[in-house]
């Protein structure tokens, strides 16, 4: 059997089938951990709750919305300032956190009046915002407030506002994923189809399951725009409430994170006949193919090929420079969900690293199918890992770096394993060709950090080299390379800018402009029929 039992978890029989090692000859019919089951109390799991899955992961990246949490203040406070989902409207969604601040008397007598007053007062305090999502929390779910009724009432009274109601309390599901599901379905049920978009291109998509972490979604939209494709919405990073209400008019749903957003794509397929295309925005090879697939749907192959050729030529030499130095480095790929499969194989193929372990905090078995299918022989896959298991895995596997969140990263730091923030990124975006190089750069910088070398030295007993007052990364990374390997013509470290996203916001896209002009003309012809 491929199941792996951690020594630290031998005493918890329920954990027995939550980790597997992909041994020789194993496939998905013999090697798959359990997933998406209730968390075992007291394990010190890394999971969040369903509320955070709904509000914090999916709802809050919407950029022109008041994200009002109906509950005590902690739910909103604690999930604020923990993400790097940026937007092109000055990051409204990063700057503000809203709550009804439910108190004891509200718990006793009901909090609907408080909710109504807070909605009205908040719109008044920030009159430039006309859209709102109200999120249920554990407390208000348990007291049974009818948030839908209050929202309807306020919409009628105020007239010019639109409110979305998300009923995904923290306890609603084994993990964050319960909230992903609920907010997806609620959005389709309540808002999709309530607004009509201005169609400006013959080629119209939604880009789904990207939260614009450090600009990921904007990078992908750049490629689409260069082909003349109109992106109606990105679900949900950097999108407006109203854009997302027009999702029903897309010709194609391009799906990135199938964990958090496949539900909405499935519903849009069934209800509106919009096909779902799953793609990979990470890694040169997969991205080449993904862009070509989207292009082919619209007959834009030449335009896609041009982008692919340009981008590969520009960034490949930089990726190769890093790959040469990352070869054989052992990584633990420990994200929340989707990067488990998006990165598992392509990071080995293109950066030469070895993925020795994958885990998912909140994924389902379907996510592990993808992750286990894509990772190499010998990898340890863990569902809902806990603190001691992660430590044991690191001790056994001896990774050179772990890709995880900030707090587990601090655990790793103490045992002298560098970490890279896979949720918020170190210096992303990591999507796109340049982004993939930025990831390679960040991995390289962490693995060859001179500080981590210094961290290993015990000055009370170790000899230390006295001849030089410094050591650069290059001096550490290149010792195992031959002079020829270290100096391959054309290969060099990253040369992009610190911020490679902001400039995209004012970029002009001739293909898209041409489409716009064409559609504008057609619209005018309808208004003024030609004689």
């Amino acid at each position: 059997m491929p199941y792996h039992t951690f020594k630290c978890s031998e005493c918890i029989p329920e954990r027995a089938m939550h980790a597997v090692v992909k041994g020789p000859g194993e496939d998905l019919t013999s090697c798959l951990p359990l997933g998406y089951l209730n968390t075992i109390p007291g394990t010190i799991s890394e999971r969040g709750c369903a509320f955070c899955g709904a509000k914090h992961v999916i709802g809050a990246p919407m950029k022109d919305v008041i994200h009002l949490c109906h509950g005590p203040v902690g739910c909103t406070y604690d999930t604020w300032h923990t993400k790097r989902y940026i937007s092109d409207n000055d990051n409204n969604q990063l700057k503000y956190a809203w709550a009804t601040d439910v108190k004891e008397k509200n718990v006793v007598f009901g909090a609907e009046k408080l909710l109504k007053k807070t909605i009205i007062d908040t719109f008044k305090a920030q009159p430039h915002l006309k859209r709102m999502t109200i999120y249920q929390t554990c407390a208000t779910a348990l007291i049974g407030d009818d948030m839908d009724a209050v929202a309807r009432e306020v919409m009628e009274e105020l007239g010019d506002v639109d409110i979305f109601v998300c009923n995904a309390p923290g306890f609603g599901g084994p993990s964050q994923s319960g909230g992903h599901h609920k907010i997806n379905i609620a959005w389709v049920d309540q808002k999709v189809g309530t607004k009509e978009p201005k169609i400006e291109s013959d080629y119209v998509i939604n880009y789904v399951g990207d939260y614009n972490i450090q600009g990921d979604a904007e990078i992908m939209c750049d490629y689409f725009h260069r082909m003349g494709i109109q992106v109606l919405s990105t679900f949900t990073g950097n999108s407006t409430f109203d854009e997302l209400a027009t999702m029903h008019r897309a010709h194609l749903n391009v799906l990135e994170c199938a964990r958090s957003a496949e539900y909405i794509c499935n519903e849009l397929r069934v209800r509106y006949g919009i096909p779902r295309l799953d793609i990979d925005g990470f890694g040169f090879d997969l991205l080449n193919e993904s862009l070509m697939k989207v292009a082919m749907f619209f007959g834009l192959e030449e335009k896609a090929q041009k982008i692919i050729d340009e981008e590969n030529a520009r960034w490949r030499p930089e990726l190769d420079w890093y790959a040469r130095r990352l070869k054989g480095k052992r990584i633990c790929l420990w994200p929340g969900g989707s990067k488990l499969w998006h990165w598992a194989h392509v990071i080995e193929e293109e950066m030469g690293v070895k993925v020795v372990s994958v885990y998912s905090k909140f994924g389902h078995q379907g996510d592990f199918e993808k992750g286990v299918a894509r990772c190499s022989e010998g990898a340890l896959a863990i569902d809902d890992p806990n603190e001691l298991e992660a430590l044991e895995a690191m001790e056994e596997l001896k990774p050179d770096i772990i890709l995880t969140g900030m707090r587990p990263g601090e655990v790793a730091k103490k045992i002298r394993i560098p970490y890279l923030n896979i949720h918020a990124y170190h210096n992303g975006p990591y999507k796109g060709y340049e982004g993939w190089v930025r990831l390679a750069r960040d991995l390289y910088n962490a693995i060859y950090s001179p500080m981590y070398q210094l961290a290993a030295i015990d000055i009370s007993k170790d000899e230390i080299p006295l001849e030089r007052g410094f050591r650069s990364r290059r001096m550490i990374s290149d010792v195992t390379l031959s002079p020829e390997e270290a100096n391959v013509e054309g290969e060099h470290p990253y040369t992009g800018e610190y911020d490679n996203v902001t400039r995209l916001r004012t970029k002009v896209y001739p293909e898209l402009e041409a489409q716009r002009a064409k559609h504008q003309e057609a619209a005018e012809e309808v208004l003024v029929p030609a004689k």
């Binding site: 630290c8 005493c11 918890i12 209730n38 968390t39 109390p41 007291g42 010190i44 999971r47 969040g48 709750c49 509320f51 955070c52 009002l68 509950g71 005590p72 203040v73 902690g74 739910c75 909103t76 604690d78 999930t79 604020w80 300032h81 700057k95 503000y96 809203w98 709550a99 009804t100 601040d101 439910v102 108190k103 004891e104 718990v107 408080l114 007053k117 009205i120 007062d121 908040t122 305090a125 929390t137 554990c138 407390a139 348990l142 007291i143 923290g170 306890f171 609603g172 599901g173 993990s175 603190e387 001691l388 707090r407 587990p408 730091k413 103490k414 045992i415 002298r416 961290a455 030295i457």
Partner: protein, 466 residues
């Protein structure tokens, strides 16, 4: 003078919260819990109530802290989840053999569903702990911290009291002071212990958190955790007296020790700034009979010397807004006044009804001769909207990182102080209390104002000569 209209104390007049200053009660209890050695709390609620609080502590200290959860899910919310607490205790104890102290911290959800955690503790004490863990010292401490009552401040205050109440045991006088620091940083504890060492006073510090700033060791041995032991907590009943530095964070425990064990208690003032540090030392001296040594006179002199260089040239009449933990805010306001500044807006992030009886607030109301507002139940939008509507014109903000955008977007320089400070490096390492804290605060304020002058080209040339 004496006209209260200059300084108004009033609650925020908008319903709800936009950019909260505090989080909820369970977070405060969790913060207290990580200060105790061999202690891992179990938060009885959803996973998020722990995960994000741990992340918050992680951001503050750039370290990891372990706190467990009963991981409430749908079935528990419907049918009650006391069994999940029992399981959590067992699983935790099985896998963490060093754990001796397990606070069980409730949340909004489990208080609403009415889980009887006191009953669970009784049951576990009689059953599981007697049988499976016979011979192992384990303390289960129920802590009722519903999120819809109070704030992280009251949660902390309550947890300190619960710890003391659980452990304090009268035996022999130990000749020590109890020092209840309130919600402070490792740097503050170091500064306070330094002052006591200079006074040759031995103290039980609640909590010993200097190790929150833990090293990265070549043998991988270090982890961040508090060092207050069970014996320390037991001994609090045998102290010569208790100094609770903060009125809102630890005072309940001091009062308990006084009423239960006749341990004399002095509550406050928070030793922020020269004057409040002076009072603190006088209180220590009064309680212990130890004189204030010349070394502290010199240390004080160095701080005064540094501030004299700054106050009337650079600080005089500068308008300051301050938000954060109430004792911190009030202490900073007092210090600002001593440095000739004008704190014009104080924001206290919860609706604690006793603020109006706080003698420090009364003193401000009686003596301030310019318009000052003190807002209770306040949020950071109360600051932002006043700046945007030009109701206040500020030279400086003192507050934690949650208000960073108010500073950035409105071009008001800000010194990061309080919890949480995650957008500046090493904040936790520097004290705000004691003479050392006074120097650090004054110089941070000065340097922040200087940098702002240079960015804005606002008499930046003045520093050509100083």
């Amino acid at each position: 003078m004496g006209d209260t209209k200059f300084c108004e104390l009033k609650p925020k007049d908008r319903a709800g919260v936009i950019n909260p200053i505090f989080t909820c009660q369970p977070a405060g209890a969790q913060y207290a819990s990580i200060g105790v050695k061999d202690c891992t709390a179990i938060v009885h609620g959803g996973q998020g109530c722990v995960m994000f609080v741990r992340l918050l502590f992680g951001q503050q200290f750039k370290e990891n802290f372990d706190i467990a959860s009963s991981s409430l899910h749908e079935d528990g919310a419907v049918f009650g989840a006391t069994k999940r607490v029992e399981d959590a205790v067992d699983v935790l104890l099985m896998r963490y053999p060093e754990v001796k102290v397990v606070p069980i911290i409730t949340t909004c959800s489990t208080e609403i569903i009415g889980d009887d955690i006191d009953g669970v503790v009784t049951k576990l004490n009689k059953g599981l702990l007697k049988q499976k863990y016979a011979g192992r010292e384990v303390h289960l401490i129920p802590m009722h911290t519903p999120s819809f009552t109070g704030s992280m401040i009251t949660g902390y205050d309550l947890a300190v009291k619960d710890f003391v109440e659980h452990f304090a045991k009268k035996t022999e006088p130990n000749g020590k002071l109890n020092l209840l620091t309130g919600w402070v940083n490792p740097g503050d504890v170091t500064a306070l212990k330094h002052l006591l060492a200079e006074m040759q006073v031995d103290a039980t510090v609640l909590f010993e958190i200097e190790n929150f700033d833990s090293p990265l060791m070549p043998d991988k041995s270090a982890v961040s955790h508090g060092d207050t032991t069970i014996e320390d907590l037991q001994g609090t009943a045998n102290a010569i007296g208790t100094l609770a530095l903060n009125r809102y964070e630890g005072a309940q425990a001091a009062q308990y020790l006084k009423s239960e064990f006749d341990v004399p208690a002095i509550i406050g003032p928070t030793p922020i700034g020269i004057r409040n540090t002076d009072i603190f030392l006088k209180n220590v001296s009064a309680m212990t009979g130890k004189p204030i040594p010349r070394s502290l006179v010199e240390e004080r002199g160095r701080a005064v010397d540094a501030i004299v260089d700054l106050s009337h040239m650079f600080f005089a009449d500068k308008k300051v807004a301050i938000y954060g933990n109430p004792d911190l805010v009030i202490g900073l306001a007092e210090f600002c006044l001593d440095m000739e500044m004008k704190p014009v807006l104080l924001l206290l992030g919860d609706d604690n009804p006793s603020y109006k009886n706080d003698p420090r607030i009364k003193a401000l109301q009686e003596n301030v001769d310019y318009k000052m507002e003190i807002i209770t139940n306040a949020d950071i939008m109360d600051l932002e909207s006043r700046i945007k509507n030009k109701e206040v014109e500020l030279d400086l903000i003192l507050g934690h990182s949650k208000g960073r955008w108010t500073s950035i977007d409105n071009g008001v320089p800000m010194v990061r102080v309080g919890f949480p400070t995650f957008d500046r490096a090493g904040g936790y390492r520097h004290p705000v209390v004691g003479y050392a804290g006074a120097i650090w605060l004054a110089e941070q304020m000065a340097n922040t104002i200087f940098t702002d002058m240079e960015y804005k080209r606002n008499k930046e040339w003045i520093l050509n000569v100083w």
